[in-house]
Assembly symmetry: C2
Homo-oligomer: 342 residues x 2
């Protein structure tokens, strides 16, 4: 037994060192040295090398990332939906009519798995109704940091992908402007994006609720959400929003589902060298495995075909990522420390 | 005569030196040393001094500038209106019905002075109809750099305010993010904002036409304007757009008319120290003099009162600015060089 423990300690030290000791040189330590990693690094080196024919000036180094399923876990259901459902349940006491009126009754009593996209829209609207963006963001932040994903028993803010954090850092360090372009609600993402991804408010593009500017009796101005979407940022809405918010085409874009296809096509149409990547959730052991038949984060056969035809890179969670979540790094660190103190 | 010429040469050298020699130290050389300049510098020094109680971290140093009348000349008529009118005249051959149908007939035959805001909206729509943002920006850029303001016989892109260029440079050098927040059309401003103001596309907030994402037969994606406004960015629309595009309140904001009041109120409601400024066009000799009764860039009595009550700074073009336009600097430089070579 003692020999076995010794053996494992050595293995852990060896693995940990190989992950961390090379940190200074390796910008993507949580990635295995497979094609995905190689293509990302080769691309960045090529567009930042002023002697390269593919050189792109800093101002045009735009990177866009989808959020749900690309930067954080979207299963078993989009956190935005779970949050809005919780919010409606909290508000239900103020709306006795919801107990009998549809679709409210179905929403409150139903399983989240059965929530239709129509009902999702109503839930989103109810979850922001009469609120200021600041008030909404504060409630959303508490939920994102406290409510737990049932599969992992971890808060949603912990369930972000360590390899993608490294890519964002790597791109920023190379002069890229890193944006989130998500079908989720802009202010929901803003509630946690700076803390989780180091992405500031002005670089979060998402679905936008119309707001109304008002003034209190004491002449204090404030904004309040109107009960309707001003911008939907999914499918074709992504390039449209990219034009409005950024005004330039990305040169690198990450997605994971059909909702990201137009954004990646738009990126590919850039006159500059461009790289398009899709995260494939093929890791049931460490996260989830889903694609063609999933209602959440649908990755249909047609998208696989389109990606192959256009030389887009499919990122395999299973094969390309050494670790999935930041807390796995902490675990590894802890083991390393324990090993050193034995 | 010779003595007189000698005398003037000395004066020119003296004046020029006093303007330019101090450039290295003085961030705002085109400003007289009056209250406006002093307040801007005092404000910037205070929010950037980490030991100051008013210190503001870089990420929150948001500066917003109105465009028409704040950064460039808006008289005798907003350039956007003149451009759209020219555009409609160009397109008139393709629309024989415009010769008889209203309001097109009035627009095409009328004086720009009589164009009502309703008609302005129709003109804007016609000027973008069926176009891609890239195509529109290219036509707008040509117009802005070629069409001349009748008063100055200079292209519109030359009629930007030198003192404001210096303020923008000064703010950027002190870690501010400098945005334009204008009632004008976003892509019209983007057509020249980088060249004129060093403000990149992603920092131009303005009125937005809805776009549609389409794909050609050859699978090339493109955007085309829809014939309707998605976002209007004037009056209360300015703080609403600031929330959507930036997500943070400005700490310094510049405007020149009633359309900027809400933006400045919004800025003042910041928890951080904030400075609000309004350009007053009181210089008929060098530019234009207008305020209360002007239909373009209306600066009503109520705004003067509101500004005074709230300690907003009124910038007097006549008293606060040594020069108005960049080409005056060039003239001055030329005189200086000529004087040196005599």
């Amino acid at each position: 037994m003692k020999e076995l423990r010794y053996f494992f300690t050595v293995i852990i030290i060896f693995v940990s060192c190989s992950v961390f000791a090379s940190n200074a040189k390796d910008p993507l330590p949580s990635w295995n040295n497979s094609t995905s990693k190689q293509r990302i690094i080769k691309f960045v080196e090529s567009v930042t090398n002023i002697k390269s024919q593919s050189y792109v000036p800093k101002a045009e180094r735009i990177a866009t990332f989808d959020n749900d399923g690309t930067l954080w876990v979207e299963k078993p259901m989009y956190p935005q939906i779970l949050f809005s459902l919780d919010r409606m349940r909290e508000l239900a006491d103020l709306h006795p009519d919801w107990q009998t009126n549809q679709p409210y009754k179905d929403i409150l009593t139903g399983e989240y798995k059965n929530i239709l996209s129509n009902n999702a829209e109503i839930m989103f609207q109810e979850s922001v109704k009469d609120m200021s963006p600041e008030g909404y963001k504060s409630i959303a932040y508490n939920w994102i940091t406290e409510n737990k994903n049932p599969r992992f028993n971890k808060a949603h803010i912990e369930l972000i992908y360590q390899p993608m954090l490294e890519v964002m850092d790597y791109l920023r360090a190379n002069g890229f402007s890193v944006y989130i372009v998500s079908g989720g609600i802009q202010d929901f993402i803003r509630a946690y994006a700076l803390q989780a991804y180091k992405v500031p408010d002005e670089k979060v593009v998402g679905a936008v609720f119309d707001t109304n500017y008002k003034v209190t009796k004491d002449n204090e101005p404030y904004l309040v959400y109107e009960n309707k979407f001003l911008i939907r940022c999914n499918y074709e809405g992504k390039p449209e929003a990219i034009h409005m918010f950024i005004g330039k085409k990305p040169i690198i874009a990450f997605g994971n589902s059909n909702g990201d296809k137009a954004m990646l096509d738009w990126t590919q149409s850039n006159d500059q060298k461009a790289l398009m990547l899709l995260v494939h959730h093929d890791d049931a052991k460490r996260e989830f495995a889903y694609d063609v038949n999933s209602k959440v984060g649908t990755f249909p056969k047609s998208l696989f075909d389109h990606a192959e035809k256009n030389n887009w890179q499919i990122i395999s969670m299973k094969d390309d990522w050494k670790v999935v979540f930041p807390f796995e790094l902490k675990k590894m660190n802890k083991k390393l420390l324990e090993a050193q103190h034995e």
